[in-house]
Subunit: 205 residues, 2 copies
């Protein structure tokens, strides 16, 4: 792609560094900004820089928060005995949307992925283990993505805390509600048969 | 979508103002920036603000350019007798990629679209008419998008310059090269029959 302006080329190159944004999309976005009032561009730029430089993390769950303790960790009505391990803040938002969980969260900051150069040391695993050692948590719920990396991360943490005798669980894998059996992949369908649940439990939901 | 941080919410809101970027995508992009070095965010922000505040337009074709005359307008090898009217700089890049056009361009800055509140006064139509009145252009080629708005804009300009006696043409509409007839829409197929060309002309390409 050849540009008639160095300024334009720079902006497009920077924009296309974002995941899922190719050069053509970046050009479309940048030209859109050019058509808008200047305040739109400066507001966008300022909000990004402000977020990056002033961002704070909850000292308890490592989620993004403007205060030392995030709203969930600071809420006395949440059950402190349950701790749900997630990859990032988006997973908290997704689970909160279901209104089915009243415990606390712990944000790992990703999952172990040798392919992407992410080792256990890059995640908040040490802090998690320390928190569990301090006591108070009775059940640890793994809510990582259903991938090889997610399973590896779960297993790595499980091995580290096995001796603490804390109950561990993982969110159920199975056929999505509303899905037809014939369109489910074999691994999911296989797991949903192996990990079948008593029918009276299913009636409770 | 509920956010745990005002800073995060601001950044996501600003990002989701961009066309085709919803709240979820915006959150994904912003969280990606958070994981990167700070320089990535400041570089992106700086390049956008710099582009917006320092952008210059070619005084001849109104395309984006760092110099007073863009590279194409300043090139003495381009044919000055042909002027191709396009909506924005992306169209110039697309046509230049074909290496099939050696004339000059004129960027209108959009198309007449009452639905989006864009009237003839919002485009560079007056400057185009003035340029044509000054003489030197023998053929005006309309290369607007094949939409109602594109056709309207072409017709509006045509009416303004009809008396100047300049030859006008529009880029050919028809079946895309490589396309199957049965999948073409009726309007395109209909036009391609009505505007059929002598077979010996097709052989020349």
């Amino acid at each position: 792609m050849e540009f008639s302006s160095k300024l334009l080329e720079n902006a497009v190159n920077e924009m296309s560094q974002l995941p899922g944004i190719g050069k053509r999309t970046a050009l479309r976005l940048v030209l859109h900004l050019l058509k808008q009032e200047e305040i739109r561009t400066t507001d966008l730029a300022t909000s990004l820089v402000k977020l990056k430089t002033e961002i704070k993390y909850c000292t308890s769950c490592f989620g993004i928060s403007d205060t030392q303790l995030c709203d969930i960790c600071a809420n006395p009505k949440r059950e402190e005995r349950m701790l749900c391990v997630v990859e990032d803040i988006r997973d908290i938002m997704a689970i909160e949307n279901t209104s089915q969980y009243r415990g606390l969260y712990f944000v790992l900051g990703g999952k172990i992925s040798p392919m992407e150069g992410v080792g256990p040391g890059d995640l908040n695993i040490a802090a998690l283990v320390k928190r569990l050692q301090e006591g108070g948590v009775e059940e640890l719920i793994f809510a990582m993505s259903a991938s090889m990396e997610g399973d590896t991360t779960n297993f790595y943490i499980f091995k580290q805390i096995e001796s603490l005798g804390i109950k561990t669980s993982t969110i159920a894998r199975g056929i999505s509600v509303g899905d037809e059996l014939e369109y489910a992949d074999e691994v999911t369908l296989g797991r949903s048969i192996l990990q079948r649940i008593p029918f009276e439990n299913a009636l409770k939901v």
